[in-house]
Each structure stands twice: as structure tokens, then as C-alpha cells.
């Protein structure tokens, strides 16, 4: 375990003080030329110069533009669609309605969770913003203008908005397209042991129940979704540029949906301006662009505007959770029980492994040593946009962590115990790992108490409590909130986890060129996480070629091996492992070649990060660069060894990795206006081996900002008619730098035992762990009023109502 140092191990130097004439991005490599460590991102020179190549930067000759007509109402029968005026627009090339797609068998497509979703509505519209028709025109303005010329007649139907009453017999049936469907029930799911949990609750001295809402939020990436389809009618090939976090999975799904031969489909995911789960699903717009290119014979671009992104693409969360926690009087937690009502919108578009309809919500037992746990979940259809993506979390873990961390705080409230003490008494101990939870998850490693104590130390928790005491005496409201989370990231293993039958495993291919420079090809897809740097460092650490000499290729299915892509913090935990293993495979071959070059047995060779030398004689040595030249040259190779220095692997993770962390948040609340500010936030993350600490910190900063946003202001809201009230960034609020404090980050290192370098995912930890810390802090501030819970988003209004004893759930 390394303690969080005040000065990091190898700092990125100040740009001004860098004496080197080479680009500053690589200066740090001089100090630590090879492998893991703090290093500026290789991709940033292009991003900071505005030279990134995002989907909307791509212009193809003769390209046409597609715009989607969307439903203005949440629920209604389509009586007629008249597109004649739009077709007559001088710049319009094509108008397609649902009926026209139906003729081609393309009006519906499968979702990632066994349901179907309309590409263009044929019978009914089922949410406001649903795709009804599309126009293809010479430019994007004309396409938009022509939408207004399409005349759709609707018969309005009552909208099902309230998830709590969606299953009432009198409620209209949304999914009458499904044979025999007579209600709005989507699925039921359970996990854990009901009887054992009841028994544990019966033994408990204290049972605390708390209902809580995790409202519908949106990943809201800066870059909205889009695609360019270019179908070549002569050779039958389709090239699709699209904003996707999972290009390979999309390719296979297009082959299955559209009946195109898979070898003829090339999916290219260019630079992506944020994903956060939003760019995992296949959206109707992508399919429409493909159809449009096939029908017009031209490349066709579709990009969403902000409102379309917020109102029609995949949302996240939307769980109503009834939680119960059982404990002894002295604060030993015995069991947790919950029943969840999940709003899945109009189509079940959840992006989660097939066998996990509730995602990985099963980890709701959190970081504690329990005797029993049980969860039931009912999912329903409503007249809202479909989705339910892993928004910066590994499949519903954000909800699970929020539930358990709020429940533990409610228990602390009930027992009048300090929330840190209560957690310390119940956290899993290091010797319990690998630990199988009461819902069957095998946590790989952790040193929870040390991690929590590190956060306590950085925050000066006792000092904060003293300050709070003084403030309370003066009538000022200050709150300190704690959360401890365990994430479960890096799906598969493939035998348990698949998306539509595709096992969750990832490939990597490494080629070392004759001059000793290398190209790594991976199946994951960066949306800003810095893969071009981290993955180059992973390879560098293994084969001793500096990161600057390693190019990382991703996001093009013709150029990279198959794999399931980037979401659920999968990249470092799965593709990163693949990159390690492929590097080791190359190194093993290099060792054989080195033995021939040095004319010595392989067992007498010592690897020294970048070169092999003879045991006891460091001067007898060959570098990896020399080996590479030899591999492609004319010199002798050992028996049975082919020329070249390259390798390929496909990595199937043995288990998920379980990053964890302890967060402490400090808030000040203005008692009169109920406005609160997050004054401090301490985040101690344990993501195992830290490959590039700077990138990790960047990921943590982003996730913390996200978490504060959700706790304070983010929510996709609807009115009683199902109109979406959050269709712009004036209405769907995202936090700015002014709402967040200077983050204080620290770390502990508990490597994952099964990851080849011990790394765990970290991209989403902070989004998962921070909302309960903020809410716990605000509730702690309001303790003098005797309030135990109020729901997110904790807007000043909701908080004021809570202070007055009238806390209103947001839905």
C-alpha cells in the first residue's frame, strides 16, 4: 500500500521549465522514459489545437443530410402521414416514413435487452421525441425546413407518466405491439435469499426503512450522437462513421438487423466527444442513415441537436427504491432488503449484459459484511424515452451504491452513531477477500479500512466535526457526508456476460516494426479517457519501448480485433489486460530471438525493460529495437520461430475487478434560502495498480463533478402529459466549475489479483461514489431539524420543503 503523497511520484513538469526542445507532451518521458507513471496525454496536442476529428468534422463528397421528424406528443395513434409537401421541397432528395420502412421489414429493430424498438413509428408514437419520419436533403438546413412540411395526424392517447401507477389495470397499454400484452409490465427480477433475509431482519434490534428516488438523468455528452453512412451499391460495402462506444458490437448487430454481410460492414468511430454510456445503444438515427444511403446511393450524415439528444437518447437511473437495513443495537449490520420500481420508458433499451436485466444492481450489499440480502425489482413501461444505460457506472451500480450508502447513513442517524465509525465497524476486512457477497458477487480485493482512514486523514474528519459543533452552536448549518463504494467493472467473463449473444471479451494486436516502433490495435474506444496514452504506457511497461514510439489504433473495425468496447470501466480492466498479454507474447518471442542473437540459452537471459542481457554480463545485451530489426532481417532465427515481431490475443476476464473508494464531502447550507455549497470534497480511490496517475485524477475529477451535478440539479422531468421538460441545457442543468470545489484526491493501491498488472477500472468510480457523499453531507447539515432523507436533485426548493418537514420526492 502506498500512502497518498503530497508530491506525486513523478510529476508532470511545468511546461515553462521544460528545457527540452521536443513537444512538452513527451518531456516527462525523459525522466521516466518507459512504462507506467505520470505523463501528459499523447492525444491532447490535437484536442487543444482544435484538430480533433469528430463525426461532424467529416465531410464526404456528395454527402446528403438527414433530419428526423419526431413525435410532438408522448402517446398517440398515427392516423395519417402526408409527406408530399416535403417531397416537393427543391432540395429534398428523399422522405421516408414508418410505413415505407415496414415494407422493407425495417420499421422495428431489436434492443440490447431482448425487446424491440421502433426505428420509425408505424402504429403509435410512444414517447415525445420518438422518430416518425426522416428527410434527406442537400444540406442540413433544408432537411430541417422540410420536416415542417410533413403533415402527421395523431389521435391523442392518455400518456402513462407516473411510474407508480403504470401497472394499475385502468392504465392504457403502451406496448400493444407486443402479442397478448395487456399491461405495462416489463420484467420482474430478484436476487439474494428472501428467507435468510427475513430471518436476519427478525433477529435485528433495529430496522430502518427509507424510500428513495434516483431520478432519471441523462449522460449529456458534449458531442451529441450522429452517423455518416456510405453504402457502395457496386461492391455492397457499407462504411459507417458513428459516435459509438462499441464499434465491433455495432457492426455485428447491423449485420444481424439489416441482413448485411458482416465482412462488408466497416464501422469507424472517430474522435468521440464524451459518451458516458449514451453512445452504447444503436439509435434509430443510425439505422435511418444507413437506409438513406442505400436508397440514395450517396453518403448520408445525421447528427442530433442538443434537444434531440436530451429528449430521445438513452437516459440513466429512474429507480424508485424502498430500502430496509437491519442491525444490532451496537451497530453491526445484519441484512439489507430492497424493492425497486424501475421506469424503463417506452421500449426496454437497457444496455446491460443479457443475463442481468437489473444490471449489476445486485452489488447493493455494498462494502459490508452482511448475513443476508434480498432484492426484488419490477420494471415497467412508460411513455418516456427508452434507455437505461450505464451512465458512468457499471450497469446500475450507481443506484446500488446510493441505496446502501444512504441506508447506512439512515441507520447511523437512528443509532446516533458517527457514520465513519458505523462504516468502520462493518467494512469487509482485507483477509476476507476474495469475498462472495450474499448476492453472489466475488469481490477480488480491497483494503477498505485503510482506504477510509486515508480519506478521514486527508479531510481531518475530527477537525471538521469540531468545526461543525461550533457552527451548530451558532445556528449555522454545516454537514459532513461520507460514502464508501465498491464498483464492479470490466465485464465479462464471457460465459456469464454477453450483449445479444456476444461474449464480453476483448482482443488486442501488437506489431513491432523493424525500427522498433510499435502499433497496438485494441477493440475499446476512447471517448476522452486518454487511451492513446494509457495503452501506450501499458505496452511500454511490458516491452520497454517508450510510449512516444507506440501508436494506439482504435475505433475502426477493419483495423482492430473484435471486442465489446468501452463502457462500464471496461477498457483498462479488459482491453488493458489484453494489451499486457499481447505485449508479453511479443516479449516471449523477442526472448527467443535474443537467445539466437546472443547465442545463449533463453534461461540465461535477463529482461531489463527494453533489453535482454546475459546473466551476470550486462554488457552482452540486445535491445528490443535490435531484436525487432533482427526479426525482420536476414539473420538466423531459432528453430521453429517465424520472422516478424507481432502477436494477437483475445482476453476473457476471469472476473470483474472491484475498484473502491472512500469519499468525504463538506457542505454549508444557508438556512434561510436553503442554498448549499459544496465546500470540500475528499476522494480516496483504490483502483489497484495506477498506470497514469494524472489520467486517473482527471477521470476522478470528472466523475465527482458529475456526482455533484446529479445530487444538486440534474433531472429529466416530465409533465402530466409526458412532455419532456428538460430538452435544453437551460432546463437540464449541468454543474459548472462554480458549483464544485477544488477536488482533494488521494489513493490506496490494492492490486486486482487476476488482472495481469493488477489494475482495476476507475473511469466511473467517482460518479458512483460521490452522489451519496453529497446527499449524506446535506442531510448531516439538516440534522438539527431532525430530517433523515430528501431526494435528489437537492434543489434549494426541495431542500427548503424538507427543512419545513415536507420533503417531496421528485417523481
Amino acid at each position: 500500500m502506498r500512502r497518498a503523497p503530497k508530491a506525486p511520484d513523478h510529476r508532470v513538469p511545468e511546461a515553462a521549465s521544460a528545457p527540452d526542445s521536443r513537444p512538452t507532451a513527451f518531456v516527462d518521458n525523459d525522466r521516466k522514459p518507459v512504462g507506467h507513471g505520470r505523463m501528459l496525454r499523447k492525444e491532447d496536442p490535437r484536442f487543444v489545437r482544435g484538430k480533433g476529428r469528430f463525426l461532424d468534422d467529416i465531410q464526404l463528397p456528395g454527402m446528403l443530410h438527414l433530419a428526423l421528424l419526431r413525435a410532438p406528443i408522448a402517446h398517440g395513434r398515427i392516423l395519417s402521414v402526408d409527406a408530399s409537401a416535403a417531397e416537393a421541397h427543391p432540395k429534398v432528395k428523399l422522405v421516408v416514413t414508418g410505413a415505407m420502412l415496414a415494407e422493407r421489414g425495417l420499421a422495428w429493430m431489436p434492443t440490447m435487452s431482448g425487446d424491440v424498438q421502433a426505428v420509425l413509428a408505424t402504429d403509435k408514437v410512444r414517447f415525445q421525441g420518438q422518430e416518425v419520419a426522416f428527410v434527406v436533403a442537400e444540406d442540413r438546413y433544408a432537411a430541417r425546413d422540410a420536416l415542417e412540411l410533413i403533415d402527421v395526424e395523431y389521435e391523442r392517447l392518455p400518456a402513462v407518466v407516473n411510474v407508480r401507477t403504470a401497472l394499475d389495470p385502468s392504465t392504457p397499454v403502451i406496448r400493444d405491439d407486443l402479442p397478448g400484452k395487456s399491461d405495462n409490465h416489463c420484467f420482474d427480477w430478484e436476487t439474494g435469499d428472501k428467507a435468510a433475509t427475513e430471518a436476519a431482519f427478525a433477529r435485528a434490534d433495529v430496522v430502518v426503512s427509507q424510500d428513495m428516488v434516483y431520478p432519471r438523468v441523462h449522460p449529456a455528452p458534449l458531442e451529441t450522437c450522429g452517423a455518416i453512412a456510405d453504402y457502395d451499391a457496386v461492391d455492397g460495402g457499407l462504411t459507417l462513421w458513428s459516435t459509438t462506444q462499441a464499434p465491433h458490437a455495432h457492426r455485428t448487430l447491423y449485420a444481424l438487423v439489416a441482413g448485411l454481410p458482416e465482412h462488408q460492414i466497416r464501422v469507424i468511430s472517430p474522435d468521440i466527444g464524451g459518451g458516458f454510456g449514451n453512445k452504447v445503444p444503436i439509435y434509430p438515427g443510425y439505422v435511418c442513415a444507413i437506409v438513406a444511403s442505400m436508397l440514395t446511393g450517396k453518403p448520408v450524415k445525421w447528427t442530433e441537436d442538443r434537444s434531440e439528444n436530451l429528449t430521445s437518447t438513452a437516459f440513466a437511473r429512474d429507480y424508485i427504491m424502498q430500502g430496509e437495513i437491519a442491525a444490532t443495537r451496537d451497530g453491526t449490520i445484519l441484512a439489507v432488503r430492497t424493492s425497486v420500481l424501475a421506469d424503463h420508458g417506452a421500449f426496454n433499451g437497457v444496455a446491460a449484459p443479457a443475463k442481468y436485466p437489473g444490471g449489476f444492481f445486485g452489488v447493493f450489499t455494498g462494502s459490508y459484511d452482511l448475513q443476508a440480502a434480498y432484492c426484488t425489482m419490477t420494471a415497467v413501461y412508460t411513455n418516456k424515452a427508452p434507455g437505461g444505460v450505464a451512465y458512468s457506472c457499471s450497469f446500475r451500480i450507481t443506484e446500488a451504491v446510493y441505496l446502501i450508502e444512504r441506508l447506512v447513513d439512515c441507520l447511523a442517524f437512528q443509532l446516533t452513531m458517527d457514520p465513519v465509525e458505523l462504516r468502520l465497524a462493518n467494512l469487509l476486512k482485507p483477509e476476507q477477500f476474495p469475498y462472495t457477497t450474499k448476492t453472489g458477487w466475488v469481490y477480488d480485493s480491497g483494503n477498505y479500512e485503510v482506504t477510509l482512514r486515508e480519506a478521514v486523514r486527508i479531510a481531518d474528519y475530527d477537525g471538521l466535526r469540531r468545526e461543525q459543533k461550533d457552527k451548530r452552536a451558532r445556528g449555522e448549518l454545516m454537514g459532513i457526508g461520507v460514502s464508501f463504494f465498491t464498483e464492479a467493472v470490466g465485464a465479462g467473463p464471457r460465459k456469464h456476460m454477453d450483449i445479444m449473444g456476444l461474449g464480453m471479451a476483448d482482443g488486442a494486436e501488437l506489431r513491432v516494426y523493424p525500427t522498433g516502433k510499435a502499433v497496438l490495435r485494441v477493440s475499446c474506444q476512447s471517448q476522452g479517457q486518454g487511451h492513446e496514452t494509457t495503452f501506450a504506457q501499458i505496452v511500454a511497461e511490458e516491452i520497454g519501448i517508450p510510449p512516444a514510439d507506440i501508436k494506439v489504433v482504435h475505433g475502426d473495425t477493419d483495423q482492430t480485433p473484435f471486442g465489446l468496447g468501452t463502457y462500464g470501466s471496461r477498457s483498462t480492466s479488459v482491453s488493458g489486460a489484453a494489451a499486457v498479454l499481447v505485449s508479453r507474447k511479443v516479449r516471449d518471442k523477442a526472448r527467443l530471438i535474443a537467445s539466437a542473437m546472443l547465442e545463449i540459452s533463453v534461461t540465461d537471459l535477463v529482461w531489463d525493460k527494453g533489453s535482454f542481457h546475459v546473466v551476470g554480463d550486462p554488457t552482452s545485451c540486445v535491445t528490443i529495437q535490435e531484436i525487432a530489426m533482427h526479426a525482420y532481417g536476414t539473420g538466423d532465427l531459432p528453430d521453429g520461430v517465424e520472422g516478424g515481431l507481432e502477436a494477437q490475443v483475445h482476453y476473457d476476464p476471469e472476473n470483474l475487478t472491484y475498484p473502491n473508494g472512500a469519499y468525504i464531502c463538506v457542505v454549508d447550507v444557508d438556512a434561510q434560502t436553503a442554498v448549499f455549497t459544496v465546500r470540500r470534497f475528499v476522494a480516496v480511490d483504490d483502483c489497484g495498480t495506477r498506470i497514469n496517475p494524472m489520467i486517473i485524477e482527471g477521470q476522478v475529477h470528472r466523475g465527482l463533478t458529475d456526482g455533484v451535478g446529479m445530487a444538486l440539479m440534474e433531472m429529466i422531468a416530465f409533465d402530466d402529459d409526458g412532455n419532456c421538460l428538460s430538452g435544453s441545457l437551460m432546463d437540464y442543468l449541468l454543474p459548472s466549475a462554480l458549483e464544485v470545489p477544488d477536488w482533494e484526491t488521494g489513493y490506496t493501491v490494492t492490486p486486482s489479483p487476476h488482472h495481469p498488472v493488477g489494475a482495476k477500472g476507475v473511469g466511473e468510480s467517482a460518479t458512483v461514489g460521490s452522489p451519496p457523499a453529497v446527499v449524506n453531507a446535506v442531510m448531516d447539515a439538516l440534522k438539527p431539524y431532525g430530517i433523515r432523507h430528501a431526494d435528489m436533485p437537492l434543489t434549494p426548493s426541495r431542500l427548503w420543503e424538507a427543512i419545513r418537514g415536507n420533503p417531496q420526492p421528485p417523481i
Binding site: Y141, R144, A717, S728, D731, L733, S797, W800
Partner: protein, 292 residues
Amino acid sequence: MQLPAPFDYERATSVDHAIQLLDRLGSGARIVAGGHSLLPMMKLRLVNVEYLIDINDLHRELGYVRVEPARIRIGAMTRHRELLDSPELRRSLPIFHDAERAIADPLVRNRGTIGGALCQADPSEDLSAVCTTLDASCVIRGPGGERVVTMAEFYRGPYETAVGAAEILTEIRIPLRPNGSSAFEKVGRRAGDWPIVSCGVAVWLDGAVITDARVGLAAVGPNTTGIPTVSRALRGRPPSEELFAEAGAIAAACCTPVDDQRGSAGYKRHLAAELTRRALRRAVARLDGRES
């Protein structure tokens, strides 16, 4: 990207030119100043215009803050940022500085204008509350010449003003009276957000007694600017916490907020009282020299 419907574009070179263009092009023409209210509406296709008349070149003519002995004149093209940075305004009418610190974000403030803000006449507009509180008047120029209207006459209701089809707002005039100060308080959900409620206050003291006071609220329904009952309650009485609370209670009773995503009506009413109290407290403290 949000895409507006087709429109034509003209750049005015002077106020008279702008008026001529408006006159000639008729009701399909619309002035664009900072564009921070108009362009988003066009992009959402909530507003379609045939001609956009860009008056940003008139910043030379209409971008100013001029202090005269008995009044301050502000050109309609003065940007939020210039109001925020103006030392004269900060000294004489600190309410502007208070308000501008909390209006939108630097990007919007760099372009948005006081003229645009008033002509937009959004019921949540902070500057409308400021100008009403200060008993400002507006100079409107058209083909037939210039006229001056009070804020009460100017603001006709949500998104409606006294500015006619071929007219433009050129100047805002604010009377300066001795022994006065002012303050502005706002609560939003986030920096750069429109107010949940905001409140402007101007007070004048004669020794220990309030000679006059004006209170204006934004975002809590119509007729909440320059609330006369609050002024009546404050006049002739010495400032005190009790008096401020009483004024707050009157302000709360005078407004008609509604429940929406920003907050419940009850909360907004509560804020109307609380912010009135705070703004009064601050404005009086400024007169005492206890606050800048």
C-alpha cells in the same frame, strides 16, 4: 447543432439606418443585439424571422454609461460586461454590479445588452427588475422621432413592450437622487441560471429615517416590480431588522409565483420575503458605509 429557419440578414450602420430598415422590411424584420435571447429562440424555431437586422455596429453610438448630475444614461447597446465593469455604476447604483455578477455567464455577458434584456421582457429578466426598481425611463426612437416612457409603460406584459414595429430602444435613463443606495439579491439553481427569484431594492435615507424605498422582484409573476405597498410601509420609518422583515412579508404577499422546475410556489414566496430583507439590509448598510 440547432438550426434556424431561413432568414435574410442586414447590418445597420446607424440608428436611423436601423429604423429605415425596420420601416421598409415590415413586420417580418427583427433587430438582433447580443443575440443571446433571440438566437436560441430562432434555433429552437420558436421564433421565425424573415430579416435579421444586426445592430452590433451601433455599439459605437449606443454603448455608453454617462453620468450627469441628476441622472445616469445608459445606451441600449451597452453590454452586460460593461455594466458589470463600470466604476461609475458601481459607485452610484451598486444594484447593477450586484445583478450583473449573477446574470448568466461571461460568454453571455460579453455579448448580451441592456437593450436586448429589456426588450426581451422575459418575466424572469433581472435587469428589468433593476430598472424598475430604479424608476428608470426608456428612450424609444422611431420614424416619427423620439419618445420617453417609464418602465411601467415600457413593460406591457411577458415578452411585450412599448417598442413599436419600426422603433428601437436607444437609451435607459435613471434618475439620481442624493442619499440613496441600492442592492440586488438573487437565488438560482446554478451559476448562470435564470433566477428562481431575484429582488432589487433602492432606498433613500434622511438621517435615521427612510424617505423613500422601492422594491422589485423578478420571476414571481406579473406586477412585482416597484411594489407600491412596500414603498409605503418603508417610508418615514427608521431602518431596522423588524422593518425589513415586514417589507419582506409584504413583498411575499404581493407576488403570485407558480410551481415549476425551478421550485415550488411556496419556496418562491418565501424567497421573495427573504431576498427583500437581505437586499434592504445591504442597501442600508451601504448608506451607512458598512458595506461597499
